[in-house]
Amino acid sequence: MMMVHVFSFTGKGLPLLAMHISEGILPPGWAGFWFLLALPFVAWGLRDLKVLSAREPFYKPMVGLIGAAVFVISCMPIPVPSVGTCSHPCGTGLAAILLGAPITVVITSVALTLQALFLSHGGLTTLGADIFSMGIVGGFTGWGVFRLSRRVGIPALTAAFLAGMLSDWATYSTTSLELASALHGTGSFPQMFTAIFISFIPTQLPLGIFEGFLTAGVYRFIAVRRPSLLTCLGVEVQAYRSAKTVNSDKGEVAI
């Protein structure tokens, strides 16, 4: 892959404030591999976006809102007091519940590209790997956990919590896999994967739980404030009825 130094003041590695895989860490072969793996999902998402935007007029504003949320959430370092480190949630679980996994991949790709270009966050060569871990694995995990949870009768807010939490953990598990694959060299891959995975736990365990609460909170807001959105998005069949029940108990009027 051709590397173009567009605008670089120094040539040496710097301690960056990024949370994704930083520029240059992945060897070119692995960087290219993750790009190739990510591209079909991005294409799938673009196709879905085109079809759904034509069908539902509110889809574009919804994608705009969720896209902005994912962008902000995924570059927001949150201090974890128990370990004295920072990390960021991903927001892809929430996006996948509302918009579906393929469109989440597109949103994530845009967010990660902007962060790599302007915020020294992640990297252009590692974009494929970051899209794969956060957009694809995070998105599909969030979507799958939510759908499966609802199918087996788990309440919507609990399902949203699980989706947010598990999508976060799945993202960082995949990052561990990506790093171990590329960096284990002649050493043991399982050993390196385990070491990296365990290193993430102190920070990502509480942060994943936080993301679960964030996802459930946003979901509840939409379910109460404008439940018709959930039914129109195909997220819930009975969201409007649930919202009416909640509001009726409080003596308020459903919207």
């Binding site: 520029e23 990390s87 920070t203 919207i255």
Partner: protein
């Protein structure tokens, strides 16, 4: 009165939390330094500078601020479109 107490409470919690975080001797490094870069450097692949290196002095702070403003503006614009303000008249109407 209730709203005022809530606002004051939130401000107090924010200030106290910030004070506690700032007093903590931890470096507050991101997981990129504590995990990703650590393993990368041990494997002989330290991170390189970004191709557009905004991580210089206050420049990165500026770009993060711009990103926050842009993200907030876009999010706020579409939020208002999807969740328009509820008027008191519509709130009194029966649900459909």
């Amino acid at each position: 009165m209730k709203n005022s107490l809530l606002i004051v409470g939130l401000i107090l919690i924010s200030v106290i939390s910030t004070w506690f975080l700032a007093r903590n001797p931890a470096t507050w490094s991101g997981v990129d330094e504590t995990v990703v870069e650590k393993f990368a450097e041990e494997a002989g692949r330290p991170p390189m500078a970004p191709y557009i290196n905004t991580d210089q002095g206050d420049l990165l702070l500026f770009f993060f601020l711009l990103a926050g403003i842009a993200g907030g503006a876009v999010g706020g614009y579409y939020f208002r479109e999807l969740f328009p303000p509820i008027s008191k008249e519509s709130a009194k109407k029966a649900p459909q």
